[in-house]
């Protein structure tokens, strides 16, 4: 089985599923934002899509669920969907279990969060106290005080914490899962002595490297970070001579195609990238790579949406489109796939020839493409 990355059309919200070669399923974010009472809401019924997929493979759990950060557009309704260990209220038939929960340190440390963000925080805290089923992304020292308050030593929990610049333990391209994850963020630069936790900056940014045949395919998951954080990641990565860890064949565009992830000025027609972002997009891209915007459709110039300060931004999209043109690649928007009239989850297959975005063929499913005949002798006509 080849690995697959499946993006869900959720407007400006995220949920990406990784199906690994060995059958493991990983979920990156979960935001079930569709309004079931609005028939014109084209966003996918996420809980149903994911449940159907799990049922078809006879599973009741994800091996990993990663919340890159706890903004509502990344965890909306998660408390209604998952089985959570910390309270009986979140346990019951039909809830989907999480073998290992992955969160940034902010998700543990932050106070005053609400709704699903609070519930996920409680679950993460519960699991960290218990000492299993959890991975926290952070500089270990950052968690020292919180652990002490809860009567735990840093030493006893160190194996559950992964710092930026490290691979997530337990994954290798040489083993059946054929994938490894390199963590870029959260990183120390930003997290020292912050009075207020800016959640987007404490997002988990990582590179997944898949191996199929002899071909490595890299996917950059950029969460919701802004250009300044990107510049810092680029600078740090270059300093550590780790530039191959920023190569990409698949690029999950940051923050629903916001210009602020590219540069400080939106621009009239095209956002001008910061130095780090420019290098990341233009130098680190591999030929025919795919850029995926998990967002609403890109607004038409002069439309109401175009004047809306919220992403996606036409000028940001224009920059990404220019990037993919340089590499003969593709720029896609989740809400436009396969058609804006009826968006459906879209999949990128990781093959021995690299990333292949699947279009029509996946929708059709079981229909026939046979080109031979059932009766002997009828070939020549």
């Amino acid at each position: 089985m080849t690995a697959k990355i499946t993006f869900h059309p959720l407007g400006n919200a995220d949920c990406t599923r990784l199906d690994l070669s060995d059958g493991q399923k990983l979920l990156i974010d979960f935001a079930d934002v569709r309004n079931p009472n609005d028939p014109s809401d084209l966003r996918v019924d996420l809980a149903k899509e994911l449940t159907d997929d799990l049922r078809a493979s006879k599973r009741d759990h994800y091996d990993v669920v990663l919340f890159t950060h706890l903004d509502d557009d990344h965890c909306h309704s998660a408390c209604d969907f998952f089985w959570l260990d910390h309270a009986i209220k979140y346990q019951g038939a039909g809830r989907v279990k999480i073998r290992e929960l992955w969160v940034p340190a902010a998700a543990i440390l932050e106070e005053g969060s609400k709704d699903s963000a609070r519930v996920i925080r409680q679950e993460a805290r519960y699991r960290l106290k218990k000492g299993n089923g959890i991975r926290v992304f952070s500089r270990p020292e950052k968690l020292k005080d919180w652990l002490a308050e809860n009567g735990l030593s840093l030493e006893s929990r160190k194996h559950l914490i992964t710092d930026a610049g490290q691979f997530v333990p337990g994954y290798s391209t040489d083993r059946p899962e054929k994938v490894k994850f390199f963590i870029h963020s959260p990183f120390g630069w930003r997290q020292d002595e912050e009075a207020i936790i800016d959640r987007n900056q404490d997002s988990v940014v990582f590179q997944a490297t898949f191996m199929e045949g002899h071909r490595e395919t890299h996917a950059m998951f950029m969460s919701d970070i802004d250009y300044e954080s990107i510049d810092q990641i680029v600078e740090t990565t270059k300093r550590h001579r780790n530039t191959e860890r920023l190569l990409w064949d698949v690029f999950k565009i940051p923050h629903h195609c916001s210009y602020l992830s590219i540069g400080p000025e939106k621009g009239d027609e095209e956002t001008k990238p910061s130095a780090g972002m420019k290098w990341l997009c233009e130098t680190q891209a591999r030929v025919r790579g795919v850029m995926m915007s998990t967002s609403d459709s890109i607004p038409v110039k002069g439309s109401d949406e175009d004047n809306n300060p919220q992403p996606p931004h036409r000028q940001a999209a224009a920059y990404y489109k220019r990037v993919v043109k340089m590499i003969d690649g593709t720029f896609k928007v989740t809400m436009d796939l396969p058609s804006p009239r009826k968006p459906k989850p879209s999949t990128i297959e990781i093959t021995s020839r690299g990333a292949t975005p699947l279009g029509g063929s996946v929708i059709v499913g079981a229909s026939n493409v046979t080109t031979s005949t059932t009766r002997a002798g009828s070939a020549a006509k």
């Binding site: 093959t351 020839r353 009766r375």
Partner: protein
């Protein structure tokens, strides 16, 4: 990217899709503009009344990997050219620099490249052809091209050259290693001027008109040539790449042929056929040859003069038609020497022995045989040798050398029309006139029309041995023809023979039996391997469809004999039946018989939906087993997009993660796709998912509930891509059974 000029020269631009004369074109445009087909958009429409074709220019997004096997673009401009008269559409790349890939159709130079998106004969393909299907095949083709997966490893390599209109038959000795070129004599068959049959030159008594020079090229890399050489000079430069100096070779040969003897005069007055074996290197299958013959327009002597090695006999000595060697050799005359290419077939040297002995049983009923192939020829001759039936034979093919391995016709019929030759043979056995009709039944020429009509009208029995699903259905549907239809064929592996016969009243037709046959393949454990094929076919020439099956003559003969006996037996009864004989590895023959089961036909404005008693009783049995709860599952069936038939074939049981209660049923998904795929594989994709069935509890009617209508809407959306309507079948108490078909207007089929 530069677009091919051809498009702008094709007919006139149309702005209104309703003006398109091809219905398929209209459907394609509407499906694309309504986003039914993702990843495609319409660029422009044109139509040429002179060519009788509509043209749809679409941009197609390609699912392609990053590392390309061929330079396929993310978006490819494609023209789909659809003839008004529903003939096969062509698919052209409008990109001027579209790469040279496998699986393209031959095009004259200067025309856009034509993609071969479907190997099946069009008559088969069009049964499922929709605008969506065509676009999807193009997408799959382009995607496979980009991944380097167009070249199925089960197939031999692509030939070096495109298709040749002519055919030449050679003895295998022509290709042996010889120090000197082999000389043969060619005979153009009276029936077919494009068909050249050759024998060794030493064989006397046949006036030569073509002399063959055989050349073996060095193996070379699989770099295909777009167009076949059409002049001696282009052939020479082609051969130069293969390490052969053609001019030098010809000069030597022609000089040696010079002379004033009658044989020399005669030989130099013939045309040259330069036969070249191009060995193709393949990783999987070892060396394979692409053999082509290049026949010159000029005579050997004229070519010798042009090459400067001969001159005409101007002396007073000997015949003035003779050629004399030029001494010294002159400069070649600068003159274009045209050659015409021909596909080479080798003569089959094996004999075919008839293995049947007759058993007399007079039967004067009139029969029409459709398909004079291996089975048809053997079946009809077997029966004729037993004095059975008064025959009319219909076929549109000519007999090729490879046919004779399993055919009842022989070596000396090669190049003749099968129908003529077979009618002759039967006629010889029966000593009565047997009428041959050489025509394509799908497109009969005007000359055959009346004869066909009379033959079918007079017939009491029609025997279909065409090995074509499309033909069986076509024959089944013939209007005002009352003959009982029989259909016989071999499975692709050549290990089973199938005989289907209608009942005399024709209330159970070949279409119905076809559906019942597929259900038996899915359900009967004895038939699980029936449609499996272990070996790919064998190419007998260099075009996509020149595939013949690898079936031992003994299997074909044995199965033909079994069918012959079966036909005799069923002609003694009035009932519908299906018989399947399977040859076992240990030499045993297993016969599985099924009675044809009565069918019910429900019609809407557009569709005819057919199901049979056994399907209903199977469903009722599953329903009873699960009572008091509801149950259900997926429905499989045959859809004929052309004739608008849906035959329900089989109802799958509920997937294990389904939940059925007294008041409702939710079908699960676990293993469902696998089961559907398995059924499709077992029937070689003849059967597909067509909808859902479920049961209602004891007290409820079989009429659809609001939940059922919701399911129907869902189905309609899911199946819209396939140009199909979703079906929901509901089974209730006392055998009551209803069908609901979704289309734009919900049409309920009346209850039993």
């Amino acid at each position: 990217m530069k677009l091919h000029n051809w498009w702008n020269d094709f007919g006139k631009e149309l702005s209104d899709p309703d003006k398109l004369s091809s219905d398929l074109a209209k459907e394609l445009v509407s499906q694309v503009t309504n986003y039914v087909v993702p990843g495609v958009n319409i660029v422009s429409l044109r139509q040429s009344a002179a060519m009788g074709c509509s043209g749809v220019f679409i941009n197609i997004e390609v699912e392609r990997p990053q590392d390309l096997a061929y330079p396929i673009q993310a978006v490819e401009p494609i023209a789909v050219i659809l003839p008004f008269d529903k003939r096969q559409p062509s698919v052209l790349s409008l990109r001027e620099d579209f790469p040279d890939t496998p699986h393209q159709n031959w095009v004259p130079s200067g025309k856009p490249r034509a993609l071969c998106i479907d190997d099946r004969p069009w008559e088969e393909a069009r049964l499922t052809a929709t605008g969506f299907d065509i676009v999807r095949r193009i997408q799959v083709w382009l995607s496979n091209a980009s991944r380097g997966e167009l070249h199925d490893t089960a197939q031999p390599p692509e030939p070096l050259f495109f298709f040749s209109a002519r055919t030449i038959v050679l003895p295998s000795s022509a290709m042996m290693e010889n120090p000197e070129p082999v000389e043969l004599v060619g005979i153009i068959h009276e029936d077919n001027p494009n068909f050249v049959f050759t024998i060794e030159a030493s064989y006397v008594g046949v006036p030569p008109n073509i002399t063959v020079v055989a050349i073996k090229a060095r193996p070379q890399d699989q770099e295909r040539i777009r167009h076949i050489p059409n002049s001696l000079s282009s052939l020479a430069s082609e051969l130069e790449n293969c390490g052969i100096d053609l001019y030098d070779k010809l000069k030597t040969v022609l000089r040696n042929w010079a002379g004033i003897e009658d044989s020399e005069i005669q030989r130099l007055s013939t045309r040259l056929a330069i036969v070249v074996t191009f060995p193709l290197a393949t990783e999987q299958q070892g060396p394979v040859n692409d053999v082509r013959a290049f026949i010159t327009d000029q005579s050997a002597g004229e070519i010798g003069v042009a090459l400067g090695v001969l001159h005409t006999n101007n002396s007073n000595v000997g015949d003035c038609r003779a050629y004399i060697a030029a001494i010294p050799v002159r400069e070649p005359i600068n003159q274009e020497l045209r050659v015409e290419s021909a596909q080479v077939h080798y003569r089959v040297s094996r004999e075919i022995a008839a293995m049947l002995s007759g058993r007399k049983k007079p039967d004067n009923r009139r029969a029409v045989l459709v398909g004079a192939g291996s089975l048809g020829s053997q079946l009809s001759l077997n029966l004729a040798r037993e004095g059975a039936l008064a025959w009319t034979v219909i076929d549109c093919d000519i007999l090729l050398p490879h046919n004779t391995v399993r055919h009842a016709l022989h070596f000396d019929d090669i190049g003749t029309q099968k129908a003529n030759a077979l009618a002759n043979k039967i006629s010889g056995v029966l000593d009565e006139r047997v009428e041959p009709i050489c025509c394509n039944l799908f497109h009969p020429d005007s000359g055959s029309h009346d004869r066909l009509e009379k033959a079918f009208k007079d017939a009491e029995i029609i025997i279909d041995t065409s090995a074509s699903v499309a033909m069986s259905r076509h024959l089944c549907d013939l209007h005002n023809v009352h003959a009982r239809r029989i259909c016989a064929f071999f499975n692709p592996a050549g290990t089973s023979a199938v005989l289907m016969v209608e009942n005399t009243s024709r209330s159970i037709t070949l279409r119905d039996l076809e559906a019942q046959y597929y259900r038996n393949l899915i359900c009967d454990r004895r038939l699980i391997h029936h449609l499996e094929t272990e070996y790919p076919g064998v190419r007998y020439s260099g075009s996509c469809r020149s595939l013949t099956n690898q079936i031992p003559a003994s299997n074909a003969a044995l199965l033909s004999a079994l069918i012959s006996q079966g036909v005799k037996r069923v002609l003694e009864t009035e009932d519908a039946s299906i018989s399947i004989w399977t040859l076992k590895d240990n030499g045993e023959i297993e016969l599985v018989n099924f009675d044809g089961t009565p069918v019910t036909i429900k019609s809407t404005d557009e569709w005819k939906i057919v199901y049979d008693d056994e399907l209903v009783s199977n469903i009722m049995a599953v329903r009873s087993e699960k009572l008091p709860n509801e149950t259900g599952g997926a429905l499989l069936g045959i859809t004929d997009m052309n004739a608008k038939f849906i035959h329900l074939v089989h109802a799958l049981s509920q997937p294990e993660d389904s939940s059925g209660t007294r008041s409702g049923f939710e079908r699960g998904v676990f293993d469902l796709r696998n089961q559907v795929t398995k059924a499709m594989t077992m029937t070689m994709d003849q059967v597909r998912y067509v909808g859902e069935w479920h049961s209602h509890p004891e007290e409820a009617l079989a009429t659809p509930s609001p939940t059922d209508l919701e399911q129907l809407n869902w189905l309609r959306e899911e199946m819209e891509f396939e140009g199909l309507n979703g079906l929901v079948a509901i089974a209730a108490a006392d055998g009551s059974f209803s069908l609901v078909l979704s289309s734009d207007v919900l049409a309920e089929v009346s209850q039993n």
